[in-house]
């Protein structure tokens, strides 16, 4: 026990004297959690609080164009700059190059006329199908409705464009439905639809009730902090490979290892000491980042991190930390130089994060990657944390994520043991 304690003390001393390593281990997860949460949070807010800058050019002089303009404004996603109808497409594009707006909507000149004509056509067809007499006096223009033009800046990512398109389609649908209903009403009653009825028919959309699936029964909507803080904490835990893997390699190369081998103590004591010391580091990393999420994020304008079941978080953090430490030691045992350890360690962590669902949600992973994904320890760490942070689960609810993680950790430990024996280190 005295040997183990002396070794832990030695490891702690070396660790605390490596200022750069400490900064890397503690500042990196904080920066990652803050920056990525802030970015995702601002993205979320951008789509929900009128912050997508848009140029709107309505070349139509009729009622439908105005209604579409109103519906787009009402969508609540855009900060609209209206330009005069005489602005050419090129002029509008020119303004977008200077990033005055990332999106521009051009309503064509005969939009009202065409929409009205198409609505009348639909109404006549519908009434005939019902065996009713339609007003044949209605003249229809058989030409199709010209599309609404949506110009977008190339910086706008596809997911953004799809969200914006969805909002536009919804606005367009409102206008089209209104015209069809008005036409039907006119054909049936030979008079215009009263405003009150128009409002009742159009405004009676069925609401969507969004409820997050939660094991605790809570209806709190998971925010960007709940998503990002645990995810990037896991990433940072595994990134101790840079410090720990390097420490194992340094010990092997700097000659102290030769001395250790000639002393009457098994090198496994050193391996155990490193595991305990760095497990403490990973748990501290998690505690620091979670604390910042709880107490500092709100003062930075970021959503507060809600800490779930404490027993669950403690156990998951310990198991994730142990897995990260085991992986780092394995890399250190097999690497021949510090450069190898750093390079292989960093690249493999990024790859495991990518296939593990940290960069792309696991449900969106291609089928061919589903098996590979399950081999990544980061996947199980993430699933366990999400079970707690997003679904409000307890320890028993994430047990099935912890078990595979323990299995992977044991395999890593066995590989390390094999490496130590093969290299005549124990």
């Amino acid at each position: 026990m005295f040997k183990l304690w002396s070794t832990i003390l030695k490891d702690i001393r070396i660790l605390t004297r490596d200022k750069l390593g400490l900064i890397f281990m503690f500042v990196m997860p904080i920066v990652l959690a803050v920056v990525i949460t802030a970015v995702q949070n601002s993205t979320f807010e951008m789509l929900n609080t009128n912050t997508v800058p848009m140029i709107l050019c309505n070349r139509d002089t009729g009622e439908a164009g105005k209604q579409l303009e109103a519906a787009i404004t009402k969508a609540g996603m855009f900060r609209i700059q209206t330009v005069t109808p005489d602005q050419t497409d090129e002029a509008i594009s020119g303004r977008m190059h200077t990033k005055d707006a990332v999106i521009a909507i051009i309503i064509p000149a005969d939009f009202t006329k065409k929409i009205k004509s198409k609505s009348d056509e639909i109404a006549v067809k519908a009434l005939k199908n019902f065996g009713m007499q339609a007003n044949d006096g209605v003249k229809t223009d058989s030409g199709s409705v010209q599309p609404i033009t949506m110009l977008y800046h190339p910086v706008l990512q596809e997911t953004f464009r799809r969200s914006i398109q969805g909002a536009l389609r919804s606005a367009l649908q409102v206008v089209q439905n209104k015209e069809v209903l008005k036409s039907l009403y006119f054909n049936l009653n030979e008079k215009a639809m009263p405003d009150s009825m128009e409002k009742e028919l159009i405004g009676s959309q069925v609401a969507i009730n969004e409820i997050p699936v939660s094991r605790s029964g809570s209806r709190n909507i998971p925010n960007a902090s709940q998503h990002n803080v645990p995810a990037w904490t896991v990433f940072a835990m595994f990134f101790i490979v840079i410090s720990l893997g390097g420490s194992v390699v340094r010990e092997k190369l700097n000659g102290s290892f030769v001395r250790l081998k000639t002393l009457p103590t098994n090198y496994l004591v050193s391996v155990l000491s490193k595991q305990l010391t760095y497990l403490f580091v990973t748990v501290t990393q998690a505690a620091v980042v979670f604390s910042l999420g709880i107490w500092l994020f709100p003062s930075m304008g970021l959503p507060r991190l809600a800490l779930p079941d404490l027993a669950g978080v403690t156990v998951v953090t310990l198991v994730c930390g142990w897995c990260a430490v085991s992986y780092a030691i394995m890399i250190g045992v097999f690497a021949k130089t510090q450069e190898q350890s750093n390079g292989i360690g960093a690249v493999s962590i990024v790859l495991m994060a990518a296939v593990g669902g940290l960069l792309v949600p696991s449900f969106a992973m291609p089928q061919s990657f589903q098996f590979v994904m399950k081999l990544s320890p980061l996947h199980w760490c993430l699933e366990a944390y999400y079970g707690l942070f997003l679904e409000g689960g307890k320890l028993k609810d994430v047990a099935m994520n912890i078990l595979p993680l323990l299995g992977i950790t044991l395999v890593i430990q066995l590989i390390t043991l094999y490496g130590l024996r093969r290299k005549n280190l124990i």
């Binding site: 005295f2 040997k3 304690w5 002396s6 070794t7 003390l9 030695k10 001393r13 070396i14 004297r17 490596d18 700097n254 000659g255 102290s256 290892f257 030769v258 001395r259 250790l260 081998k261 000639t262 002393l263 009457p264 103590t265 098994n266 004591v269 005549n424």
Partner: protein
């Protein structure tokens, strides 16, 4: 009659993935209490032989016994019997001399109070008391050599293996190290020493062996060897027995 500190019989060793054997049927005996010097040109097999004696390399044939214990069979328990001072600085540069001694003392099987006593004693003898709390990485080469030696002897080993313990140090540090090694030997520690500093070896060693191409080509007291080969120094004896050609392998 003194017991053999080291007895090597019919030793055979070949490095993995190499065809030529480093040693085949090598025999050597070092008696307890000797100040034994092992010399030879570069690539002769000095370090490999020392690594076989300290258990760092697993030999394929023969036997290496330290104080009657076969090293291949009792590797870890036998490690209490000897100390090793490698040529490289074999300690943690981020730690102070006292912290290094505390750690390696624990690994050598000493208790807390023993470590403290031995640390104070060694730092005093080797002139490191004033810098006991300073990080070793800030030390000069000579000071680092003295720390390297202190760690090797903290557990009072009966046999001390020294692989070029004074390489690259100034006169004062060399004098302190050699003086201390003689003191240790007077107190019963067998020294097994290798170096290219032949004048230093003449001063320190009372028995020498010359190794070349994996074979012991001479083994006796220095005086007897010089008499036999009509040389008046170790350097002349060395050139006489190993030739003048370069050994850069």
């Amino acid at each position: 009659m003194n017991q053999a500190a080291v007895r090597i019989s019919s030793l055979g060793f070949t490095y993995p993935r190499q065809q030529a054997a480093c040693f085949s049927n090598l025999n050597l005996e070092v008696t307890q209490g000797e100040r034994f010097g092992l010399f030879g040109p570069n690539g002769a097999g000095k370090t490999t032989l020392m690594n076989c004696m300290t258990g760092l390399l697993n030999y394929q044939q023969g036997s290496v016994q330290l104080l009657g214990h076969e090293i291949a069979h009792h590797k870890k328990s036998i490690n209490r019997l000897f100390g090793f001072v490698p040529q490289d600085f074999s300690f943690y540069q981020e730690l102070s001399p006292a912290e290094n001694l505390a750690f390696f003392g624990a690994w050598a099987g000493l208790g807390k109070s023993e470590i403290k006593t031995k640390t104070d004693e060694l730092l005093e003898i080797l002139g490191l008391t004033d810098v006991r709390k300073k990080k070793v990485q800030e030390f000069s080469g000579g000071m680092k050599r003295r720390v390297n030696l202190a760690i090797g002897v903290i557990h009072n080993p009966q046999i001390l293996f020294l692989d070029e313990p004074t390489v690259g140090v100034d006169v004062h540090s060399r004098h302190a190290i050699i003086h201390y090694l003689k003191q240790l030997n007077e107190n019963g520690t067998t020294l097994i020493y290798t170096s290219h500093q032949l004048s230093e070896a003449e001063d320190l060693c009372n028995k020498v062996a010359l190794i070349d191409d994996g074979r012991i080509i001479a083994h006796d007291t220095l005086e007897q060897l010089m008499f036999d080969h009509k040389e008046d120094g170790l350097e002349g004896l060395f050139i006489n027995l190993t030739g003048k050609s370069f050994r850069d392998s």
